[in-house]
Point group: none
Chain length 202, copies 4
DNA sequence: GATGAATGAGGCTTCATTCAT
DNA sequence: TATGAATGAAGCCTCATTCAT
């Protein structure tokens, strides 16, 4: 029955959202499964009907959120052809996600790194897909003679992501009053990378 | 007695080194204090004579290693005046540290992020000092008219560090055969940032 | 409607048979109600329409199987008058049941003992009826002057049952190739008890 | 230090004794580790310094108690040469153990059987040693022409042990007033087996 | 009657930390 | 100063049972 399927999906979604909040507030290890259950309005055991264990819940958040983020990124870049503008839009999009989904961003950036599984065993395919978008922009720019061809797309990809990620983390961690302008930061990072990757003007 | 002081320092050092190895191998949460004690050749309780608790041990590793790293960085840059070359040397130095101290780098990069204390309460002064070196290079470059003055030194600082850190992490996590050339990566990242931060050539 | 009653009985029977198999494979505590339900082809909740709880299911198996076993025993002994031969037939019948109903025997012998309820609260009337058959044989033999009258029928009853039961358990637990001849064992046990209980030949 | 070793042994012994009592009272599954710890006067965690887990505790009780029982059996039989008298003494000894160590006997007989590990994986070497004593008596009796040579020592061994065990279990389970005379039972069982195993008087 | 998603109590075990020696 | 046996808090997860449909 469609009704039951919908209710089931709802419950799963409620657990995910509750987990995002609790993980963001307390951190993965400090978060108690029973707190997540309480916030989701379900019994502790119910969580285990939808997720194998606490870690699977964390990983599922990652997969789920990344799906949305990835789709959003592709949409944001869909109408843009110029590699230079695509880089700029990538940076803007990345920071807009962080700004508009603080809890999710906090979990994705901070808590996920804490999972040994994630870092040492789990292959974050979804993250690679996300990054591959940037590598592809680089390659396209190189093909068009806009970006220098001596740059390794993988190196620039990781460097670019690292730059965005670190700034996002600092923004997330920074407490209110001192919080810097994340939008301005996006422009600057994009600008540095664009100029840095461009072929020398002759 | 100097002898006693030295012996004490030795023991502390042995615990630190043991902790670096164990944290690198198992991760902070999975590492057991008794394993560290065993590897250091001391009793469990002895660790608590030198460190307040397990987390203090992690933080102490950070402080201690960062002191060395920071001193090394300053020495590496001591004889270089040109801001452009200082940026390049910074990148080279950062990666050389990662390459030559795998375990320490792994702990610093991976495990430290996992400590809620570290990320949410602890102010990593030593890290700020390290980064401040780069911010200062930027300011000096701006003052000399080499780097664009519209760039926020804090933004470039985090972006640069993020780029180095992410690449270092990937290098550390990457398993043997596919391991990319970390030295070449250093040159590329430095190059991208230098060009990206430079004033437009007229 | 007779049809409905039959269907009901069928479902109950299917649950019983499924439970016998699952209990035999996994043991009572390791067996999950949902596994039994799956094997029986019913929903978990359905089991609770037929049995009060998991333990009641175990006890019901016992009652049900013992009814059949008891009827079979009586039939096997029906045409035999000589107490000596009745003892022999009892042993043969007991082992034939074990041999031909491995799963049921395994549950009856192994798993039932694990139920505290069974051992400390539950009065296994059916088992007593089964044993009483032997006690009666003893008494009859004593009355006829075949068995020694100084033997306590309760003691011989438990001793005989214990001997059969232990051998059956060993046979059930023994893995294939080394499995001893259960039929030969039946003859030997019967023989020892018959000679042991007989009045001295003068 | 001998002192420390003694204290350690004492603590282990206290845990064993507490576990025997609690297992006997509540059964293995119903017994809580914290109850055992409380009764032993130690912290919960202390138990895990001496035993791998709850099941290991149960198995250790078995091993430990059987060592004592086995030594006692050997001593009880040491001065007896006649196989017939050895059988009688075996039965007497077995029941004396049950009578004098009710809790331990209850655990050994009832709770041990409940452990799947014990029945399906664990090889109770100590029990086999105990039984082997009886098998050896049988063989010796056969060699001397006292017991019939057509009897399989393994069959009589299990039958004898089953008879003793079942009677012991009934005695343990039987509540006070109706409790039968266990010593008289010992004589009867021994008597039945001795006559049952003897060569025909000519 | 039948379903099966949801419940939630309950307990084993780990391991950082302490402290008597 | 060093030891290491002892502590005990704390939480994930299972699974028998219920009940709304």
């Amino acid at each position: 029955m469609a009704e039951a399927a919908r209710r089931r999906a709802d419950k799963r979604e409620r657990i995910i959202e509750a987990a995002v909040d609790v993980f963001a507030e307390r951190g993965f290890h400090q978060a108690r499964v029973s707190d997540i259950a309480k916030r989701a309005g379900v019994a502790d055991g119910t969580i285990y009907l939808y997720f194998k264990n606490k870690e699977d819940l964390l990983l599922s958040i990652f997969e789920e959120k990344m799906d949305v983020v990835l789709a959003g990124l592709r949409e944001a870049l869909a109408s843009i052809d110029d590699p230079v503008e695509r880089v700029r839009s990538f940076a803007r999009y990345h920071f807009s996600q962080v700004r508009d989904n603080r809890s999710a961003a906090e979990v994705l950036q901070v808590e996920l790194r804490l999972s040994n599984k994630f870092l040492k065993e789990y292959r974050p395919e979804k993250l690679w897909e996300y990054l591959e978008v940037f590598a592809e922009i680089t390659r396209e720019g190189q093909a068009r003679g806009i970006f220098r061809s001596d740059l390794d797309p993988f190196v620039t990809m990781w460097a670019f992501f690292g730059a965005l990620d670190e700034l996002a983390m600092q923004w997330v961690l920074s407490r209110r009053p001192n919080r810097f302008e994340i939008d301005a930061a996006a422009e600057q990072v994009a600008d540095v990378f664009i100029r840095g990757m461009r072929v020398d003007p002759t």
